[in-house]
């Protein structure tokens, strides 16, 4: 597979970051960074990473199926993650999730028809003192309200 030069540089650095003979340790970071670039963990990517770190594709598969951030199906360009765990729930995050679904016209785990947005209810992401919180891709948004979600989605729609 061909990746961007930046990603290749990252891979090279990763493979040097662990003791000799322990290159399998690079697998999870490589999968996540590659997924960021190509959109999902494809069969081709599984085979590629397996070959680069020296394990079988099945050993990569068993790792992919374990970690919640690794996904075989593409997300939307903007992946909206709404935390509903305890500290966010106490600030009505369940209603916020419902609102976000309504605003985008999709259900939890859905992707919009144009592939621009997807939604996922997520577990605690470490923004508890600034709840309720969401992440859009890797960006945190704190003290989120339904109105803030509307403004954010409208702004992202215009950006497309």
């Amino acid at each position: 597979m061909r990746f961007s030069p930046q990603l290749e540089a990252k891979f090279s650095k990763l493979l040097e970051s662990y003791p000799a003979g322990r290159q399998r340790a690079a697998m999870i970071p490589m999968l996540l960074y590659a997924q960021d670039e190509i959109g999902s963990v494809t069969d081709e990517l599984v085979a590629e990473v397996a070959q680069r770190v020296g394990v079988t594709p099945m050993q990569v598969e068993e790792v992919v199926s374990y970690y919640s951030m690794l996904h075989r199906q593409p997300h939307g360009k903007y992946h909206v993650q709404v935390c509903t765990n305890i500290s966010c729930l106490l600030h009505d995050a369940d209603k916020l999730l419902e609102h976000a679904c309504e605003k985008l016209g999709i259900e939890n785990h859905g992707v919009t028809a144009d592939g621009q947005f997807s939604i996922e209810e997520v577990e605690c992401m470490g923004a508890c003192s600034w709840a309720p919180a969401i992440q859009v891709n890797y960006e945190f948004h704190h003290f989120v309200t339904p109105e803030k979600i509307d403004r954010l989605v409208d702004a992202l729609r215009k950006k497309q």
Partner: protein, 437 residues
């Protein structure tokens, strides 16, 4: 960056650089005693370093509270294998958001803490395992590590001391269980995050089968101030058996939620009223989680006279935990709160051992049915029974982490379960809206 205003009641030791201009940069760090603790430690024997950490009464800040100096002393001196340092930055305990703030505002303090641990146990390489969602934090740590290499505070022969150390960041990819130390080591090695049987403990057989010191971010961040000012000074900030401060995350129904650095032993009610600005909307306190969702829940009455330290919480059959304080007011449905937590543990159970895998799933199913009005009276005891049968019977603490809050909620808020019986809708909601994790 800070997301809440500081409080005048804080004791700022680990957070003393927060809010300074460019607090992330090595210039700011060096201008404020940065890396001086490392230089001091480099002239000390390993025993003297560990002795200073022991004298500080520092206990692990990830939640378990194990004495740090003792943990370091378990690393075998004469092992021919390389020794490693692993930083647990996989902050995932619900209610907890302090390691993020420590790394974001003062990344070099963490690096320096790791270096001192390296001196203490003769380790020359380490990894900071950062949860995948904290990508921007990983970028901050990468920049700080690059600065440290450029300025000779990492790499070969650091500042002419003859000490070498290589430090790397490593991203997780979404798993609460990987915050458990042995599962973290599996994950670091490129495997599913499944816990290892112990003994051997990581101090003897850890990362890549080598002796490993594994501590939480906050624990490492406490080490430079301990070395600089002496263990006794740090110990004096806390209570007799636990030294120092605790990064405390106030969350939930409170006027000023935020991360605050408080002395160990800080009174709970003063923390709520004065640091946190009191209960939101003038409501009454109903329930209190001292340090992350795995702790048994306290009632408002139990909070009276309680202080934020290990012993005070143990006396109340709870734990100080991770510093993730969750404050719930009188309008909170404890059945719903319990349900959300059980959904979390069922989702995050790694599935390796049956009492946890099945137990958390059963608790989730019963709580889901119960909150939606389909509960029967015998369910209430069943929730307690299942939880008690999980306690102490799982491979790692995740099973206990689910069972402990469940038992406390059933025992202390039984009436709320009774109020949901006979198909009645949740008394705290106008519509019986469900959480759909």
């Amino acid at each position: 960056m800070l997301y809440n205003d500081p409080s005048p009641l804080e004791t700022r030791v680990l957070s003393r650089r927060f809010g300074m201009p460019h607090s992330q940069s090595i210039e700011t760090y060096l201008a404020t005693d940065g890396y001086q603790a490392f230089l001091k430690a480099s002239k000390m024997t390993p025993d003297a370093i560990i002795g200073e950490v022991k004298a500080s009464n520092l206990r692990g800040r990830g939640g378990a509270g194990f004495p740090t100096g003792m943990k370091w002393s378990f690393v075998p001196r004469n092992s021919p294998k390389p020794k490693y340092i692993v930083v647990n930055a996989d902050e995932g305990e619900p209610g907890t958001c302090k390691d993020r703030v420590l790394m974001e505002n003062d990344p070099h303090q963490l690096i320096e803490g790791v270096l001192i641990a390296g001196l203490a146990v003769d380790a020359h390489a380490g990894w900071i395992y950062i949860r995948g969602e904290y990508r921007y934090v990983l970028d901050i740590m990468d920049r700080a590590i690059a600065e440290a290499y450029q300025r000779g505070w990492l790499g070969k022969n650091i500042q002419g001391t003859g000490f070498d150390f290589e430090l790397y960041t490593h991203t997780g990819a979404g798993s609460y269980e990987c915050g458990e130390e042995s599962a973290m080591l599996e994950s670091l090695e490129g495997k599913r995050g499944v816990p290892r049987i112990r003994p051997p403990f990581p101090a003897v057989v850890g990362a890549f089968q080598c002796p490993t010191v594994l501590n939480n971010v906050e624990t490492f961040c406490a080490v430079p101030p301990i070395l600089l000012n002496g263990g006794a000074a740090f110990a004096a900030l806390g209570v007799p058996k636990a030294g120092g401060t605790k990064m405390t995350c106030l969350t939930g129904h409170i006027n000023k939620p935020g991360v605050y650095e408080l002395r160990l032993g800080f009174p709970v009610m003063q923390m709520i009223e004065e640091v946190g600005g009191g209960m939101r909307n003038g409501k009454k306190l109903k329930a209190f989680i001292p340090g992350g969702s795995s702790c048994p829940v306290l009632t408002a009455a139990e909070c009276e006279g309680a202080t934020m330290d290990y012993d005070s919480m143990a006396q109340r059959k709870s734990m100080l935990g991770s510093g993730g304080v969750v404050i719930m007011d009188e309008d909170t449905c404890m059945v719903k709160a319990g349900l959300r937590l059980m959904k979390f543990y069922a989702h995050e159970s790694c599935g390796w051992c049956i009492p946890c895998r099945e137990g958390t799933t059963w608790l989730d199913k019963i709580m889901t049915r119960f909150h939606s009005g389909g509960g029967v009276r015998s369910d209430i005891d069943l929730l307690g029974d299942i939880s008690k049968n999980m306690l102490g019977r799982t491979f790692c603490p995740l099973g206990d982490a689910a069972a402990m809050p469940m038992i406390s909620i059933v025992e202390k808020f039984r009436q709320e379960f009774e109020d949901h019986l006979n198909g009645r809708p949740c008394p705290f909601e106008h519509s019986s809206r469900m959480v759909t994790a």
